[in-house]
Symmetry: D2
């Protein structure tokens, strides 16, 4: 039975507690938060919990095997470092750290101490993303041409990060999971309307080898919520609308056939337009599956797809986006 | 009665002929096309027409007052120049020309000869765009924050231009019409998957003064057709979905209120979320209204909103997009 | 070359003229309408036509082989009878006649004179209905359980018929085409809000042998336009949304499996929920295909699916609906 | 502090426990269920609860003021009667009872004992239904013409009732709440495909005075989930789509204007088509609001809108539907 301590009981913390409590192989024993109201709330919902405002007590507790760090990104590194030093496996809220050098340091430390890191890229455990991964890996889509994602809604300005660090980690971690190639460069544009330090709208273009291009549109000022990703392959194309309760993924037998290529300037193309198909998706809760996977990895010593290295790659791209943004879209090589 | 000659009877030509034929104040007298099949088709549908493969005959015909140029963009300049020299007003398919210097030359020539130029930015005459213009100009939306447009579908590779020149003129002409400020810079990214010379996916960011940002996503490789524009103002925000038959424009009483600003790092924001409202739109055919306006301008000597200068501004932005694209997103100042 | 005369040039007449003009095997030679404005309009659009206010001239014209009757339902019988007596094949707007006895008389007359009748049930020629027919006939859906159709919008009160006679002929002719069994009884309810003589809302239940049940919801007072039909089979179920431009038909691998049946009161059922699939549909214009079929039937002596007998069956159901409506839903056996 | 005992811990019971636990003025002290697994589940989620398989213990417990009956409908009467006799207020799952005579008996008993009955018509407490009520009562919609509701999905055959008793109580209780007039008659049609005793599809027409007509379409065999109600008034019409996360209610400024009425056969009508408007709805959880209202009624002696009489009226309509169904749509007067 893996025993877990959770640091941070704000918006996401209660979900972590509920899910790890529900598992066969784990239980949450303690929660820490600097906010007293949060601790009261935790105690009321889960009376069996030990609660404390002092995260060090959790980190150093003998009956805790795993620390979940569900706090603002600027605190991740210090807490994670302490927890690893104390011999605890860690589950860290995304984005992993606010500097890629910190992420590297944590990865090395965990390796040395033979501890596991999981970064909370929950989307990788949804039925939708797992189905897309399958459709790419088994060749259904064919060679990829593009990945185009839109994640917009009225946003949350109380964050200490801009819209890229708030919303794009979802898309970047999904993109990183789905596309085998590693990105080569990033161009990020955007604007800050309410606070010079914080872009509230941003557009990321990510260049890949083999002509794959990715684009991510994140926006805190949208009147409507959109969560849509288009993925185009040479054989088939798909649209993932995460807000559609019934048919999140639609696979289109549509595309372009290049019949022949005579000379440099001539190109015979034709359009295919066939059936559309919405595969049934596994409906299980992603967070539950991620929790199970984490416990399994801790017990069996495997590495999850969302390990520290995956977290590091996402932070690298976020840093590149920031650098490009500051120079109004100058290309940043990765 | 304004007499019109139409050069080019491909996809769009028949619509031009039908609409100008239907008007009180105009009739189409002749059609020219280098393709014999096109001429046969024109003759069958409109038996009263004089048809000829030689466009010069039309341009020089004494009983023609206006020449409509509905041919590929690379031919616009020469045909337009000839027509203006021959003393004809011109209606030119978008984009106006493939070089902005050509556009300037035509504008000067028309001015000198006191002739009218209209560029076929038909969207400006739709009920939707006219309603949005009204909502911006009467202050309903408040100061603009962003304009974000998506225009994607399975495309038409037989074009002699890339996806930006094919699809973005719509969005750029609408943006130019709606936003009073003039854009200051452009960042364009994209990829060419089938033909090195021709991007089939592109993402344009256009910077404006006063923190307004615009973004245009054009894609020839999308399995679904999307025609959606989001426009965010400080007071209200709207979504224009041109494919919705009933409620193309939805105005949201949603936004951000900045309550106070204490110090540099503190910002009190709150979110407004009120009713949504879909105004009734004028349902008349945009092309018919544009045709009427053109005849009126020719008769009364006024300039339409989609005059040569509007066409020029769009071409300038297309050129900037091309330059930025070639350098993988380098900023181009306008 | 089949020569056609068209009686009635209101809303639908121009479509008939345009389509039969466009065919290889037919041309429209004359149009008749009692309204002079309609005749002027016909002459302007199709200058080659002979137009006359006197339908008898058309019916008796020697150079006319086929008469299309595109007039209000109350005039169909007399015009059709005259045309058949004059040796012309007839295409009659739906509903065929306003009394089923009239329909029978016309069928008999046509048979005697070896002439063809087609009733304008255009929907049977759409890609959607033909695909549904195929999915039923090839066993994809399995044994049918129900057919449930909704056809509502803001209506047209100038009609001389109630909402059942105005809208339900579409659904009834489609139902008649798709379901092999013949209906056994009808229950119709409804209400007339503005004119005691004319129901503006009605709900039809049609009972079939083998537990198939059909339901048709027609409404002239709906603020939204709906054109949706659900068809449930034991193996698969489908939804046909005729207003969806891209995916009109969605086939669901959903249903109920009866595992066993122990005793009278026990029933082990389980739910299947699999993929959804939207087959590509033939996009050709239904009216064009119907016109071609009619010409073919006239030339080759075959009977179309929408022959006089199909028209008669629909009128029988409309009569039954009226009778049931008058008695507030009393069952009427067919 | 009102103390509550909950009988029945299946699908809905946990929601009742959670909501009444969360309130200031109440707490749940005990849960009873004949199923041991259910009791274990209750104990695990809410360790403070007293659980027992014997509902009589709860009903007769001294420290319980209110009994919630969340069991199959066939058990409601006996449990409710016992609870009232024991001096407890009761909250009863819908439908109230399986016979209207039982409902009457309970109402009388509660009155005599000065105890409160609430029937769990939760929908009446949603932001959507309360907004519609407001739009009707303040005259926005004008005099009502129709109420047309569709509630379909793949159903649950394990129920001991047919589709009418399973799904229609929602629509009937909403209709009863919204329409001031009392219904005069019912026509119900339907079909049972898998079990002769249990209709799985049914169509109810309910006649009201003043030409108001209501229709309810309930179906357990639909591949898609639909929860849509159209309400037409003389001034405005609305569509309530309960599955739309953002704009559940759309109010249309559409309708019919009767300009004049000359003679019996002439009627000048015109169509209005104006803006659409989606009012912001209160987002609070309906069940929480209902729970608060119930506690308030118990404390202050008021009657809720969903009191025993409302429950009785719904059961009367369900009985009428059953009687009409058995006779294939024969009208049943209420």
């Amino acid at each position: 039975m893996i025993r877990m301590g959770v640091i941070g009981y704000g918006y996401w913390g209660p979900n972590i507690v509920r899910n790890f409590t529900g598992l066969e192989g784990s239980r949450v024993v303690a929660v820490s938060d600097m906010n007293e109201g949060a601790l009261r709330k935790a105690k009321k919902s889960f009376p069996h919990l030990w609660v404390t405002p002092n995260s060090d007590e959790l980190i150093n507790a003998g009956d805790v095997d795993v620390i979940a760090i569900v706090t603002p990104v600027f605190t991740h590194f210090e807490l994670a470092q302490k927890a690893l030093h104390a011999g605890k496996h860690i589950l860290v809220e995304k984005p992993f750290t606010y500097k890629s050098s910190h992420a590297e340091e944590l990865i090395n430390l965990a390796e040395k101490k033979k501890l596991k890191i999981m970064v909370d890229h929950t989307f990788l455990y949804t039925g939708a993303v797992r189905k897309i991964k399958e459709l790419i890996d088994n060749g259904t889509l064919g060679a990829l041409c593009y990945f185009d994602s839109m994640r917009i809604n009225l946003g949350l300005f109380q964050h200490d990060v801009n819209v890229v660090w708030d919303l794009a980690p979802h898309d970047l971690s999904i993109m990183d999971f789905l596309i085998r190639e590693r990105p080569s460069a990033m161009v990020a544009t955007g604007e800050a309307h309410f606070n010079k330090e914080m872009e509230d709208i941003s557009y990321l273009t990510i260049y890949f080898p083999k002509n794959i291009i990715a684009h991510i549109n994140v926006n805190w000022l949208s009147p409507v919520k959109v969560r849509t990703t288009l993925i185009g392959g040479l054989k088939k194309m798909l649209v993932w609308n995460d807000l559609d309760p019934d048919e999140k993924i639609k696979v289109y037998d549509k595309g372009i056939d290049i019949k022949s290529k005579k000379g440099v300037y001539k190109l015979l193309v034709s359009y295919r337009s066939g059936d559309m198909w919405a595969p049934r998706l596994d409906q299980s809760e992603a967070l539950k599956l991620m929790a199970e996977t984490f416990i399994e990895c801790v017990v069996n010593g495997q590495d999850p797809v969302n390990d520290g290295k995956a977290g590091y790659r996402v932070v690298k791209m976020l840093e590149a986006a920031d650098r490009s943004l500051k120079k109004k879209g100058e290309i940043v090589y990765l």
